[in-house]
């Protein structure tokens, strides 16, 4: 069990600066998820922790040891790869035992640990098979098994579920979470799937272009995104962004653009005062829009024309046009609006977000 510290971590390839000044403290027993679009540096960061990539500058420590110059095998970590990386010529048992054999564990101990791990993962019947005789989900379990037999200080997961089909992915996600609660080992998990990040992580790191954008608990990222990128990345369907002008009228601030004129919610008023007369980006999540009813204050309502209706069963997604903007609203499945119809929408005032147009930081 150990904490992992990254200090001013940088990675430069010949022309690419892949990881930029990453500072991260992963607490003991924490499940930390690194998430971001491809090429954001999340995998590179993970591989530097594993010792598979050299560190250009900065420091990584696991427990209280600086591991910069330690080879992977001496870092006391185990990694699960995206394509499982099972040794194709070895049986499941040998795959799981390999790391212990290399470390010269006594045979009895190896057997015990492999059996235990197999039991936890429910793969006892597969021990004599070769990887190619297994399904994707089973391979995934073996790969996890290979990691847990070693009882490492830290688990590293590099997009371990992305080769599975959607249904299996959901199932394995739950199992991984259960496994983490049972083993209580620090874990660093890389994914590009924000749903995985939100459901698995105790905390989530959002990365883009090598920079950390925000670190926080899942609901914190969802509720208080630090910038426009995080706001758009977390949540599905993603947040609607509309560039609006902050106008002063009748003693209140208003966000205006073609087709929309809504009052700036009170919680934002003081922060938006300096932007009076300027453009800002307003963000509203699809789930924070609903068909307006009589009880909705008029100053938070606007009209929109329905472009596409996407019924999902549990909800309906409406693609709408407002002026030059396209927005998405998530409404109740009982809603009966039709394409090309005009409908009146209301937004939940205290769930609106505002971002600086240039810096894209949350206001």
């Amino acid at each position: 069990m150990a904490q992992v510290m990254m200090k001013d971590l940088n990675k430069k390839y010949d022309e690419v600066h892949a990881v930029k000044d990453v500072n991260l403290h992963i607490r003991d027993k924490e499940f930390m998820v690194l998430v971001g679009p491809s090429g954001c540096g999340k995998s590179t960061t993970l591989r530097m922790v594993a010792g598979l990539e050299e560190i250009t500058s900065g420091e990584i420590s696991i427990g209280d040891r600086v591991v910069n110059d330690l080879p992977p095998k001496d870092r006391d970590i185990a990694m699960v790869f995206q394509n499982y990386a099972l040794y194709p010529h070895m049986t499941v048992y040998d795959n799981m035992a390999f790391g212990l054999k290399m470390r010269k564990f006594p045979k009895v101990e190896i057997q015990k640990r492999v059996q235990d791990a197999a039991e936890i993962l429910g793969i006892q019947e597969l021990l004599k098979r070769k990887p190619r005789q297994l399904s994707g989900g089973q391979r995934q379990r073996v790969a996890v098994g290979r990691a847990i037999v070693r009882h490492p200080q830290v688990f590293l997961f590099d997009e371990p579920l992305s080769n599975l089909d959607a249904k299996l992915r959901v199932q394995m996600r739950v199992e991984l979470k259960r496994l983490h609660e049972r083993l209580e080992t620090t874990a660093i998990y890389v994914t590009h799937d924000q749903v995985e990040a939100m459901t698995l992580g105790d905390r989530v790191v959002v990365m883009k272009d090598g920079w950390i954008q925000q670190v926080g608990e899942p609901l914190e990222l969802y509720g208080r995104p630090a910038n426009k990128f995080v706001a758009g990345f977390i949540g599905s369907p993603s947040m609607n962004f509309v560039d609006v002008k902050v106008a002063d009228a009748n003693g209140a601030l208003w966000a205006e653009t073609q087709g929309i004129r809504v009052k700036v919610p009170p919680i934002h008023t003081s922060r938006l005062v300096p932007y009076k007369g300027q453009q800002v980006t307003m963000g509203v999540r699809p789930e924070d829009l609903h068909p307006a009813s009589g009880s909705d204050p008029r100053e938070y309502c606007f009209d929109a024309v329905v472009d596409v209706v996407e019924p999902l069963g549990s909800e309906i997604l409406l693609d709408l046009r407002v002026g030059n903007n396209t927005i998405v609203a998530r409404v109740e499945p009982t809603n009966r609006v039709k394409v090309h119809e005009s409908t009146r929408l209301a937004l939940t005032p205290d769930r609106a977000h505002f971002f600086d147009l240039k810096t894209e930081l949350a206001i």
């Binding site: 010792g51 095998k73 970590i77 990694m79 790869f81 394509n83 990386a85 040794y87 010529h89």
Partner: protein, 322 residues
């Protein structure tokens, strides 16, 4: 009268135009013939069968017939049973050549495999100018054997050997080494040249095999605590084995039946001490003109190569089945 066909005006002329053109029937018949799968298969296979028959089956059968006859140049000869084989077996030069062939094949293959593997592992890394090195490495393989062997012969020349000169000037030897004028030296010179020539084939093929191995496996193994050598032994080598078996078998077949290299380098000398089965068969069969005896000598290669190929096929089948 028949009903007018569309396009025809009901006149006799219109009816004529609507009929298939007489010349159009021929392609139709051809099409029907080609749609018969058996016929088409026969047509498509014919060239291959012809070529294989002319250049492999016929010479092979001819060789077997010759080995059982007393044919020599200018003499049709008659069937003599296994007399030629018995004669060869009792011939001391044949026995030397027979032993040499195994010795030569064994060591040359060992060296080609080890050095080729080493080279492949080196070339599998990333470095500047990788492509040029990979391409230039093939040079020994693409230069005609006769040409390169002549160059080597010059380097091993009793009087003008550049190797002797270098070793002498370097103070490593005091008297010239008898490269090609001693049987043992001569054999090792041949093994050296064969290794030099055959190594690129090993390296390129093994390199291709190496590149099919997922690099993640090495990373997983290094996290599992395996050092470089153990990673090679536990991961690379087992995964490379099928490719290795194929290359080794190809090489064994080629080396075992090698002719050009010895023919140019030593001519089987000195005193017939470096003959291989192929060169000795040529010497007896063509140079001396005893075609029957020569054929018998060369046929001694058949059972050995047959066993090698059989072992390979068995191994590959097992790999596929496993």
């Amino acid at each position: 009268m028949k009903k007018p066909i569309a396009g025809g005006a009901g006149s006799v002329a219109g009816l004529e135009v609507a009929l298939p053109h007489p010349r159009a029937t021929q392609p139709q018949r051809l099409t029907r013939f080609l749609e018969n799968e058996r016929a088409l298969a026969a047509i498509l296979l014919a060239p291959t069968v012809l070529i294989l028959g002319t250049f492999i089956a016929y010479p092979f059968i001819m060789g077997v017939w010759l080995s059982l006859s007393s044919t020599s140049v200018g003499n049709v000869g008659e069937f003599v049973g296994f007399k030629n084989f018995a004669k060869a077996w009792n011939d001391s030069i044949f026995r030397t050549a027979f032993g040499n062939t195994f010795y030569y094949t064994f060591w040359a293959t060992i060296f080609k495999l080890t050095l080729g593997m080493w080279l492949a592992l080196l070339l599998n890394r990333h470095f500047r100018g990788k492509r040029i090195v990979r391409a230039s490495m093939l040079l020994p393989f693409i230069v005609p054997t006769v040409l390169s062997t002549f160059a080597w012969r010059w380097m091993f020349d009793p009087t003008f050997s550049v190797l002797n000169w270098l070793l002498y000037k370097g103070g490593l030897i005091t008297t010239k080494l008898p490269f090609l004028s001693d049987g043992v030296y001569g054999m090792w010179c041949a093994i050296t040249v064969n290794t030099w020539r055959g190594m690129p084939f090993f390296a390129i093929t093994l390199l291709a095999g190496l590149q099919t191995i997922n690099p993640d496996l090495h990373e997983a193994a290094s996290l599992d605590g395996a050092n470089g050598w153990k990673r090679f032994w536990h991961v690379t080598w087992p995964l490379l084995k099928p490719v290795t078996v194929v290359v080794v078998v190809f090489s064994v077949i080629q080396t075992f039946s090698d002719f050009q290299l010895i023919y140019v380098l030593t001519g089987g000398g000195p005193a017939n001490s470096t003959h291989l089965l192929a060169t000795y068969a040529y010497q007896v069969g063509v140079a001396t003109g005893l075609l029957g005896e020569g054929a018998a000598i060369s046929l001694f290669m058949l059972p050995v190569l047959f066993v090698v190929v059989w072992l390979q096929l068995r191994y590959l089948r097992r790999m596929e089945g496993a």
